[in-house]
């Protein structure tokens, strides 16, 4: 059940109506309704996956409960170990088993030893990487005495399976989301309107920007050997906007839907393509994952309070793990490594926290410098995205090699019966809108909010791509 599908619209209207009209005064029933709907939503993909989420929920609920009852460090460490092993074990099996087997066989065969390849037909459960991290944060935070164990199993299960953010985040922290299930909700017009506006804006990003770019990206990446320089460059740029529109669009819809139900989720994207260096990019891109890795991996490793060599190690660890989190393919690992390499000079020169302010362009040399920095950061990001999008590392290397060697900037007619540059106007328009609204969540503010939202709805209707069924990219992670 995709957010941009008719079935989801019907589903949400039913949930919303029951939530605010039938169970309005009963918080417990509201939560129960959310839990049932979340399981229906998740089971819609494949009901068998429900057993995994149920298992994780039960294990972490009881581990959390047990952690609350014991103060012995040894016991607490054991309980945390159980939670980590169960969650990472499930994730590792379902997501990485075949990858490790394949690579194990490859290593031996490169040494001339033939091994039997016993890969399994494993289907990757949707959203497993997201809810695993969410539920892990709960047990870790209890272990660190940052939160208390949740007493209600319904509330905890709803926190793990909360359908707006279940399959692609934002990865919420128990500290932020869990207490919200205990509060009696009151409908707030302002909150609901901001939620509705975020949904409209998220839909625009998904069906207009991401899906339009996808039609070009697929052709260019699938046939990169036949593409000229301009097509290859545009392919990388379009993919940058495809993945941004797709993922940030999903996050906006998730946050918007939650607000309609009276919940506040964290912001996942903050106009990342206007970043002035890679460090700023990672503070603005997939914020919920970056902060998760910061809090649960980087800081426990010593963070930036250790020697420079260890800092470099820590940076590489989180970027490589982050890359691997995205998928069981070397392309993601190289993508992570490349970002670590980009980050390294900033770390060594202690300039990784240079840009913590809002972005503005003054009419001076500094303004020009900002523009150059934004453009350079975007170029580096696009280069890394080539690895993210390619099927293999060698495909990505060849793609980039062709960009520099082809030297042909003519416009190319693609097999989708369009010229390679045709989506550029739409992308530029989107960039302009994003620049103008960069201090806000969405463009529907001020006097003409309603008219602006109708305008965007109009664009969604006429410019949206509805012929190709495009799943959200991050569902595969």
């Amino acid at each position: 059940m995709l957010f941009n599908s008719f079935s989801f619209l019907v589903f949400f209207v039913i949930v919303f109506s029951l939530y605010w009209f039938v169970f309005k005064t009963h918080n417990r029933y509201q939560n129960l309704l959310l839990l049932i709907s979340s399981y229906v939503f998740y089971g819609w993909w494949d009901w068998r996956f429900l057993s995994l989420i149920l298992f994780s929920t039960i294990v972490d609920f009881y581990v959390g409960h047990a952690l609350g009852l014991t103060i012995k460090k040894k016991h607490r460490r054991f309980l945390l170990g159980v939670s980590i092993c169960v969650n990472i074990g499930l994730l590792g099996f379902f997501k990485y088993y075949n990858f490790f087997i394949d690579n194990w066989v490859e290593v031996w065969s490169s040494l001339g030893i033939t091994m039997h390849r016993s890969t399994l037909q494993i289907i990757l459960p949707v959203g497993i990487s997201f809810y695993t991290f969410q539920t892990l944060s709960y047990t870790i935070d209890i272990y660190r005495d940052k939160i208390n164990p949740e007493k209600s199993v319904i509330n905890f299960a709803t926190f793990v399976a909360f359908f707006p953010q279940l399959v692609a985040g934002p990865i919420e922290r128990a500290k932020n989301l869990l207490p919200q299930f205990s509060i009696q909700k009151k409908f707030c017009y302002k909150k609901a309107m901001s939620g509705l506006h975020l949904i409209i804006w998220g839909l625009f990003k998904k069906v207009v920007i991401a899906d339009t770019c996808a039609t070009y990206v697929n052709v260019i990446f699938d046939n990169y050997e036949q593409m000229n320089t301009l097509s290859l460059v545009l392919g990388a740029v379009y993919f940058a906007f495809q993945i941004y529109g797709d993922f940030s669009g999903y996050s906006d819809i998730a946050v918007g839907l939650s607000r309609l139900l009276g919940f506040d989720l964290m912001r996942n994207f903050n106009y990342p393509y206007f970043s002035r260096d890679i460090a700023e990019f990672w503070r603005r891109w997939h914020i919920s994952l970056s902060t998760w890795f910061r809090d649960y991996v980087y800081i426990p490793l010593g963070g930036s309070r250790v020697s420079k060599i260890k800092q470099v190690r820590n940076v590489f660890v989180i970027f490589l793990v982050s890359g691997f989190w995205h998928g069981a393919n070397w392309t993601f690992i190289v993508w992570g490594a490349l970002n670590a390499v980009y980050f390294l000079p900033l770390l060594l020169l202690s300039r990784n926290r240079n840009y913590l302010d809002d972005i503005s362009i003054s009419k001076s040399f500094m303004g020009l410098k900002t523009i150059v920095n934004i453009a350079l950061t975007f170029m580096l990001t696009c280069l890394a995205w080539v690895f993210f999008r390619s099927n293999t590392v060698s495909d990505a290397v060849l793609y980039i090699k062709q960009i520099f060697l082809r030297n042909d900037f003519s416009s190319q007619f693609l097999s989708i019966e369009r010229y390679n540059f045709e989506a550029l106007l739409l992308v530029l328009l989107f960039v302009v809108i994003e620049w103008l609204i960069r201090h806000y969540e969405h463009p529907f503010l001020g006097k003409y909010a309603t008219i602006k939202s109708i305008g965007i709805v109009f664009l969604i209707i006429i410019l949206g791509v509805y012929s190709n069924h495009n799943d959200f990219i991050y569902f595969q992670f």
Binding site: F187, Y189, E417, I454, I461, I462, G464, S467
Partner: protein, 294 residues
């Protein structure tokens, strides 16, 4: 909550109105603009005209029959209505639309090769027919039979344009609004392919032939009923064709069937194993004129 529901209500009304207005606008433009596909072209033909030769089929007709050459050498009126991906259901609808406009056809040439094994229609022709779903009963009947989303396309405003945005969406709407010239020149209908085939290019025909093809039977009966001289033919394939026996089965199954599958022996005249390039198309068209005494 009341204010929010009011806002949702207002937004829903605006969306419905937008959908209706857009549906009307798109339909009007497709009905009144210069033709940009062969369905539109047929519907724009002058009524009660006479056509000497009409060629129907898939891209193996569209990229193969050089209509201008036939016109120049025979002085006859010719149309190439071959369309990429077309199947016999699409041939059927084109034929019916031509006849519904009282167009007299003296001779029709229908490509029947692997198409004989398909009782389906092309996604391209289907989506290009959608703007006329409410206006033409023939198109309505054709879509009722071939389109699994017929009810949604017919009753929901703008659904047909949104769901088929690739063929009749905003981009095509703008192109039609400003009467941008189509890739195909309809007076000719021939769309040349350039380049030469790779030696590894192959084509594979089905191993067995369908016992009966309902679409074919309907086409045949329409031609008989309207006293149209019909010739079924197989366009050329390259030398790397697999399951050539299939064509022999077609010869047995269809009495007035002309087999041109092996007449072009030079693979350099092909763009790929199933399609001739421009040079090959010219060569074959000349050969066709001689063979069929056009």
């Amino acid at each position: 909550m009341k204010a929010f529901l009011k806002h949702i209500g207002l937004l829903s009304i605006v969306i419905v109105v937008l959908l209706c207005v857009l549906d009307l606008a798109y339909t009007w433009v497709y009905e009144h603009s210069d033709p940009r596909n062969k369905t539109q072209f047929i519907l724009s033909l002058k009524e009660s005209d006479t056509l000497d030769y009409v060629f129907l089929g898939s891209s193996r007709v569209e990229n193969t029959i050089v209509t201008s050459k036939i016109k120049a050498l025979t002085d006859k009126t010719v149309l190439n209505l071959g369309t990429q991906g077309a199947k016999l259901d699409d041939v059927n609808i084109f034929l019916q639309l031509l006849l519904s406009r009282n167009i007299k056809i003296n001779k029709v040439f229908i490509q029947v090769d692997y198409l004989f094994n398909f009782e389906s229609s092309s996604d391209i022709v289907r989506s290009q027919s959608l703007p006329f779903i409410r206006k033409h009963s023939i198109i309505k009947t054709y879509l009722q039979k071939t389109d699994s989303s017929f009810n949604l396309n017919y009753y929901l405003p703008f659904y047909r344009y949104a769901k088929n945005d690739y063929r009749v969406g905003f981009r095509e709407f703008v192109a039609s609004s400003i009467n941008r010239k189509a890739v195909v020149n309809f007076n000719d209908g021939f769309l040349p392919l350039y380049g030469k085939m790779k030696s590894s290019s192959i084509s594979t025909l089905p191993k067995t032939i369908l016992k009966q093809n309902k679409s074919f039977d309907i086409i045949d009966s329409i031609c008989r009923k309207n006293k149209i001289d019909v010739i079924y033919f197989c366009a050329p394939f390259c030398q790397n064709l697999k399951n050539r026996d299939y064509v022999d089965s077609l010869k047995i199954r269809i009495p007035n069937f002309k087999d041109f599958s092996e007449v072009v022996t030079n693979n350099a005249l092909f763009q790929n194993c199933s399609h001739l390039n421009e040079e090959g198309a010219n060569y074959f068209t000349e050969l066709l004129i001689k063979e069929l005494k056009l």
